[in-house]
């Protein structure tokens, strides 16, 4: 995924400043400096004195544009990073080794943070090793059980990423337990509404289809067996899941059993934020920084 992104989407313009907060975990620090080595960005590190000294010793000689900002605590580090981004002194925020609640509650705060109200969602991005095709699954982190309005935002955010990745006329499957609209099952009704909005071109060129159960979404033949006539089944770019439980399991099944390289993108912030989600490989974490530069 990393090499593909680098070759397909070379950096344009000035190298952005990426601020890591708080810098504690060596793996995330190494990821950032790998991105620096690949000429993707300039590093800004916040953390305590001891750690900054270690970073300076290890990377200082080779990295001329290294900026080190001392902050004793995690919360102070994140706060400083957010304020720097808001003041345009840095461009991209990367989460270091800190709890998601601490980090995201501050980052997603509509007043103090980097997000507008209800604007964010998380997209798992998987790549087929066979043909390098991207598949997105969303929302796999932020919304536990999104309502229709939130699903609308989730679709819009995914479509923005699809456009960045130059996916032409993206096909979106809105998943539900069954492929028929059942007024008692909210996910089927939400999916039908989104599908109708798509029919009226409210999502531009994208084709949003739903409700689709997973077998209909993933196979045109299976959909045909259920008498479903649509161009989306078997050719999906974006899966919108009904809840985080299913999104979590779905993306991990594809990543770990399907062995598809995978990364994640937090979408909808005013400036890019890279969330430190576990189980993402080293190269894919570097790829996440490239993806974040594309969001600028």
């Amino acid at each position: 995924m990393l090499n593909y992104l680098r070759s397909k989407f070379p950096r344009r313009g000035e190298k952005p400043k990426v601020i890591l907060a708080p810098a504690k975990d060596q793996n995330v620090i190494d990821v950032l400096f790998k991105a620096v080595e690949l000429d993707i960005c300039r590093p800004v590190i916040t953390g305590n004195r001891e750690l900054l000294a270690e970073v300076a010793q290890k990377y200082g000689p080779a990295v001329s544009e290294l900026e080190l900002l001392e902050q004793p605590g995690d919360f102070e580090s994140i706060k400083l990073a957010v304020s720097m981004i808001k003041d345009n002194r840095a461009d991209i925020l990367v989460q270091g080794d800190t709890g998601h609640n601490d980090f995201l509650n501050l980052v997603l705060d509509p007043e103090k943070g980097l997000a507008r109200k209800n604007s964010c969602s998380y997209i798992s991005l998987l790549m087929s090793p066979k043909d390098n095709r991207f598949t997105m699954i969303t929302d796999t982190f932020i919304h536990t059980l999104p309502n229709l309005q939130e699903k609308y935002v989730i679709v819009e955010n995914a479509l923005r990423l699809a456009s960045m990745l130059k996916i032409d006329k993206p096909k979106v499957a809105v998943l539900a337990a069954i492929e028929k609209v059942n007024p008692r099952i909210v996910s089927t009704v939400d999916a039908a509404v989104l599908s109708k909005m798509s029919e009226r071109k409210q999502f531009g060129d994208a084709i949003v289809e739903g409700p689709l159960d997973i077998d209909c979404a993933t196979s045109r033949e299976a959909a045909a067996r259920k008498k479903l006539d649509s161009v989306v089944p078997g050719d999906v770019d974006i899966y919108v899941v009904p809840n985080v439980e299913s999104g979590y399991a779905f993306s991990q099944m594809l990543a770990f059993i399907g062995k598809m390289p995978h990364a994640g993108v937090l979408a909808g912030t005013v400036k890019p934020v890279v969330v430190n989600v576990p189980f993402i490989g080293f190269e894919e974490k570097v790829a996440e920084i490239i993806l974040s530069t594309m969001l600028l």
Partner: protein
Amino acid sequence: MINDFAGIYQLAKEKGPGKLVVLAPEDREFMNAVKIARHEGYVEPIFIGNLEKMQIAAEGLDFNIDQIKKVFLNDPQEIADYGIAMLFKKETDLVSKGQIPTSYIYRAVIKEEQKRGIKNNISVTSLLEIPGCDHIVAVTDVGVNITPDYEAKAEIIKDAVSLMNLLGYDFPQVVVLSANRGYGPTLQSYLDAQRLREEYGDGNGGFEIRPEHSVAELFDSVKVSPPHVFLAPELDTGNIMAKLNYVIPVKRCATLLCSAGPVAIPSRSDFTESIVRDMALGAVLAARIKEKNIGLKI
């Protein structure tokens, strides 16, 4: 212990044919599956459904269904009720869904279970054959319980464990899945997982609850092996996990193991190969129930 689906086919052949009632084999893929399962010696079918539709489904398949015993019914609920009642009366070893919505079958099974006061809850378990994994992996519940509570989850685990026991897994390891990710409020699935681990942690239920909660934890490391059973937090998750065979190289089959025996639960979108597998699994489970004499006492 049956490690893969080849083992299921082999045993189905050895132990078969089991007497199979097919509920509405009114579709070509289902009819073809019955033909093959019969030819392989897994099952000896009885059909319940609409004669004309069954005849049309069999057309061109080189399958003479005149010799097959049939019960003629049209209403899907009547079809399900009749077939499931046969299972509970021991007039058949197993049942398979044909081209009728599953809800009719669930209703029929629950009615029979409640009549006898045996089970309050039923569930559908999918079995996956995953490349590189040295055993079959069960995912449950993939069919019945939309948002199971703690008590229902305990019942669902026990159903899957009974199924795995019949396949030779004496002390299955169970992973209770949760998307608890350290952001937002603690999920109910995580609280249920903790409670299940406390309740059954010492193995007193005949199974082990493992500490992991995600697929990633189990397939990311060579040091950790996948469990025998995944308990899904809710139905959407179970359904998605069980039906990824079109996008990742897994094979699957599914069954509802009620107290009277197995009911094969193919999806309406399944093709012949997968439906045959469901029937073979049902035949194996029915044979094992007979051998162990653990079926319903009537």
